[in-house]
């Protein structure tokens, strides 16, 4: 993707669907109940395969749905990991605290980088340049996540990734090997579209991060996330072209 321009229209969803693996693509058209059943199947399979697992929760709706789906199935002491980049929307912190309390999450872990280097990195590389995005995300988001996976000795890690979000994510499988540290990423929502997520939160009355109500459709740090109020735009249109263009490099480092 590095040298291609990102299409931020809704066509991008279709393009991503076409890139999805043949065994995953047909699942896109399942009903919500069938999708829930399939995702639970993936979660159970992972739990049976990998003795030590964790789950990533960012405060966004995808990982929220994943957590809601997984909670009845996973052990009570499974670590639920939030990577605090130190530049999240303030509502995200409040929301996460509320979910942890309301859903009675026993083993919630927040990790963050030792130092906040945002200002220095902006000075050095300029905001939203490829270098800045790679190093800033690498330092504030990816490294703390990889470190906690290593420190906890996790064999596998659940994340709320969906294939239609990005061309690089579209190529994923349910179980995906990662290195440094070696572990498996598990993607139970890989075949969910955005409307499925919305239907799920409505059907199960799941409270979402209030930032979405302010016109955001995909959440990142305040510095690099913009509102996306065009109904014809792709769900990640507010995340900026640079991040989307260098996604492969970020994912090689460990990005979801």
């Amino acid at each position: 993707m590095d040298d291609k321009k990102i299409d931020f229209t809704e066509n991008r969803t279709k393009n991503c669907e076409e890139l999805m693996r043949p065994e995953v693509r047909p699942l896109l058209d399942l009903s919500l109940d069938e999708k829930v059943a399939k995702s639970k199947e993936v979660i159970k399979e992972a739990l049976a395969k990998y003795p030590k697992m964790g789950l990533g929760f960012s405060g966004g709706t995808d990982s929220l749905v994943l957590l809601h789906l997984a909670l009845p199935l996973i052990p009570k002491d499974m670590p639920i990991v939030f990577v605090d980049t130190q530049h999240e929307f303030p509502e995200t912190y409040t929301f996460i605290n509320k979910i942890v309390k309301d859903w009675n999450i026993k083993n919630f872990i927040t990790v963050k980088a030792d130092e906040d280097k945002l200002e220095k990195l902006i000075e050095r590389f300029g905001l939203k340049t490829a270098e800045f995005t790679e190093i800033c995300c690498g330092y504030h988001k990816i490294a703390p996540m990889m470190k906690v996976i290593g420190d906890l000795g996790l064999d596998a890690f659940f994340v709320g990734l969906r294939g239609v979000e990005h061309e690089e994510r579209a190529k994923e499988s349910f179980f995906s090997q990662r290195t440094n540290p070696n572990h498996i990423r598990v993607h139970p929502l890989l075949f969910w579209r955005k409307p499925d997520i919305m239907e799920y939160v409505k059907k199960y009355n799941v409270e979402c991060n209030p930032v979405y109500a302010k016109g955001y459709t995909s959440l990142g740090c305040i510095t690099c996330t913009e509102r996306n109020t065009d109904p014809n735009a792709h769900e990640r249109a507010g995340r900026g072209a640079v991040r989307e263009e260098i996604m492969k490099r970020l994912r090689d480092l460990g990005y979801t």
């Binding site: 130190q86 303030p90 409040t94 605290n97 509320k98 300029g126 905001l127 939203k128 690099c224 509102r227």
Partner: protein, 454 residues
């Protein structure tokens, strides 16, 4: 050429007489004092109302709080200054943590980025229920209330009581970074709560001395429960006893906040924003420390709760007909702030704005400013106002101050030249002035009918 940026900083419950540039000897505010040195300083500025909900309609919409259907919700025909500037192409952002300024009350309009930062996700209704519960506890079991508050404070520390300035600043900085490369003028409004009651022990950050703690909680209790009812004496006694500690805590809160404001101003300098921005610092109201037998701010319309700091730093190369380092001594009201800010950035004020441009130096008629407040028993707060008998209105000139309480019809009249602390009510002895002031209020109310139905 790009319009100048506009940065509005409001500090909740900040009394001007605790600030260095307003003559305070305590070195509470070196950073704000430095900003004042290179700004236009209004030495006699007043808020329209004594509380956040009664002051902010004037600050952000240039209307009086009792206009239309009262301050319950900011909606048409009120227009926020953010809506005006956004229409003119400004990037607009708000950063605050006051429930009274939230989306629930309609303050979210016209902002590209509206950050209402709260620690708890609880609803306002829940917080009022909690207040009612607390009120009952303190009414029947005052010792239990004080000790449970003390224990809660001891266990939790001060960290979760209110949102502190560093978090607000962090979000402001992130937002400013996000604008990089856009070449768009911005209007940001930053509201800090650090100086609001209860003033926390900011100096040591975590550990408070016993005296400070009880001082804080005496203040907190009074703030939460007003000055009415059977506990008035007990609260007053407690407050009187710990007044020095509470005042000291208040000064420490100002010092703490001033440092954070300084840090943010330095950030603006580093980002090359400071020089060419208009920076306005003010407060929504003051606070009472027993001057009229009460504490905090509620329905009173005395000047200790209405007097506020107001400074406006113009861009370095300003050709606006007034220069920084000007001191304006005449009385001014925050009703005029939004039209003034619009004028400074050459944007036409909205027709709904009632104020005038503070820098319009043309000869004026007698300089009069007006204040309004109200109290509602309903739900234990001050917003569901339905009747005029819940309201108070005041008017002040350079020499006189007149207050009328529509509840009981009581009138107060003070000669501000002889009695600036408003201690000697002359309503019964100076009838000529009383009638004059009463007529001025009548005229004001004819022009601005309180609680008029739309």
């Amino acid at each position: 050429m790009k319009n100048p940026n506009l940065i509005l900083i409001t500090i909740d419950a900040l009394r001007p007489n605790h600030l260095g540039f307003m003559g305070c000897d305590e070195k509470n505010s070196p950073n704000i004092d430095n900003l004042a040195k290179e700004s236009v300083v209004f030495k006699n500025a007043f808020s329209v109302g004594p509380t956040t909900p009664y002051s902010f309609p004037s600050i952000l919409t240039s209307t009086y709080p009792l206009d239309y259907q009262g301050p319950r919700e900011i909606k048409e025909p009120r227009v926020l200054i953010s809506e005006v500037l956004k229409k003119e192409g400004y990037a607009t952002a708000a950063f605050h943590s006051s429930a009274y300024l939230s989306e629930y009350f309609g303050y979210n309009k016209g902002w590209d980025f509206f950050s209402d930062i709260h620690f708890t996700g609880g609803s306002l209704k829940a917080s009022w229920l909690k207040k009612i519960f607390n009120r009952m506890t303190i009414s029947f079991f005052p010792r239990l209330f004080f000790w449970s508050a003390y224990l809660k404070y001891r266990i939790e520390g001060p960290k979760n009581i209110k949102v502190r300035a560093p978090l607000v600043n962090r979000v402001v900085k992130d937002y400013i970074y996000s604008l990089k490369g856009k070449n768009q003028s911005f209007f940001i409004w930053i509201h800090y709560m650090d100086t609001h009651t209860p003033p926390l022990c900011y100096e040591k950050n975590k550990v408070c001395s016993y005296a400070e703690l009880i001082g804080d909680y005496a203040a907190a209790a009074i703030w939460s429960h007003g000055n009415k009812g059977a506990l008035k004496r007990l609260i007053k006694k407690n407050f009187k006893k710990y007044l020095p500690e509470t005042l000291s805590s208040y000064d420490k809160a100002i010092k703490y906040l001033d440092k954070e404001v300084g840090e943010l101003l330095n950030f603006f300098k580093k980002q090359n924003i400071y020089q060419n921005s208009i920076i306005c610092v003010t407060s929504d109201h003051g606070d009472e420390f027993l001057e009229h037998g009460g504490v905090g701010h509620n329905i009173q319309l005395y000047n200790e709760v209405l007097s506020i700091p107001l400074i406006i730093k113009l861009p370095a190369d300003s050709s606006m007909g007034i220069s920084n380092r000007t001191i304006i001594k005449e009385k001014v009201s925050l009703i005029d702030l939004a039209p003034t800010l619009c004028n400074l950035v050459d944007v036409k004020k909205d027709p709904s704005f009632k104020g005038k441009n503070l820098f319009d130096r043309r000869e004026k008629e007698e300089n009069l400013i007006f204040h309004q407040s109200a109290f509602s028993e309903k739900e234990g707060h001050r917003l569901e106002i339905e009747r005029l008998d819940q309201c108070r209105v005041a008017c002040q000139s350079d020499s006189w101050k007149y207050i009328i309480d529509y509840g009981g019809g009581q009138e107060e009249l003070y000669n501000l030249l002889d009695d600036p602390n408003e201690q000697k009510n002359l309503a019964k002895t100076n009838l000529e002035i009383l009638f004059q002031m009463r007529n001025k209020i009548k005229k004001f109310e004819k022009d601005n009918p309180p609680l008029s139905k739309l």
